[in-house]
């Protein structure tokens, strides 16, 4: 399994480091970055439409897919909330 990090995430970490270190001023990138972040959801549509290519697979795999989505959501919500509460929370 290849566990390397996507290039865009490395780019985000570089930009964050540059902002924290003062090499890049917030004003230089703020408007452009917020334009990208605000309009990000429209960019998910073309890859999402690609699902039409996999409808057959999805039909055969409906039980593992929906079982995993629901169960994993509930487990993650519960474990994260309890972990944070045990750590101290907002007090």
């Amino acid at each position: 399994m290849n566990l390397s990090i996507p290039g865009s995430v490395i780019g985000m970490l570089y930009l964050l480091a540059a902002l924290l270190g003062g090499a890049v001023k917030l004003e230089w990138v703020e408007n452009e970055a917020e334009l990208f972040v605000r309009n990000m959801s429209v960019m998910f549509i073309p890859p999402g439409v690609g699902i039409v290519t996999y409808l057959g697979l999805l039909r055969v795999q409906a039980v593992p897919v929906f079982g995993a989505l629901v169960l994993s959501f509930i487990a993650t919500l519960f474990v994260t909330a309890k972990t944070v509460e045990l750590t101290g929370g907002s007090e």
């Binding site: 399994m1 290849n2 996507p6 865009s8 995430v9 780019g11 985000m12 930009l15 964050l16 902002l19 924290l20 917030l26 452009e32 970055a33 917020e34 990208f36 972040v37 309009n39 990000m40 959801s41 429209v42 960019m43 998910f44 549509i45 073309p46 890859p47 999402g48 439409v49 690609g50 699902i51 039409v52 290519t53 996999y54 697979l57 999805l58 795999q61 039980v63 593992p64 897919v65 079982g67 995993a68 989505l69 994993s72 959501f73 509930i74 487990a75 993650t76 919500l77 519960f78 474990v79 994260t80 909330a81 309890k82 972990t83 944070v84 509460e85 750590t87 929370g89 907002s90 007090e91």
Partner: protein
Amino acid sequence: MSPFGITLTLVVFYVFSEIHARRRTFYTNPVLLSIITVAFILRWLDVPYGSYMSSAGILKFLLGPAVVSLAVPVYKGRGTIKAYAREITLGTTVGGTVAILSAFYTAKYLGGSEDVLLSIAPKSVTTAIAIGISEKLGGIPSLTAVFVILTGILGNAIGVELLGVFRVKDRIARGLAMGVSSHGLVPQG
């Protein structure tokens, strides 16, 4: 290159965003409704996915710089992040591990195929990053995109109620639990 794909995507998304702005419910999620509508129109007009992507692909390309841009909201929120560093570090590490492993092994136990397992593992991070991870893992990015959006809708639909069932009252615990389990598509709990 015909601009059909990108025009169709933008028009459909605009219409559903307007509807969502008025209703604000989880079942008017404009991204999911746009994906379904565009998919139906392509099938109806007999347009193959490849020729749709020849112009709509530019939107997918913009995901890279969009992810880099996420550094700005993180930087602006650094005060809060620093104040709750311990909670955030532990919550995201433990919660993120549970998210990946529970999705992977539940799907595996229920008979999921290898490409489904690799596509569902990154479903609890934000769509743009999940697509990148899915590509790296050898999953199917299109499936991952839809799984992430469905996860976000799940959080929106039942997340706040479930936190009540689990008797979680702390503000930071609620916010982090929602963020880790179903990423950014959720209201402040």
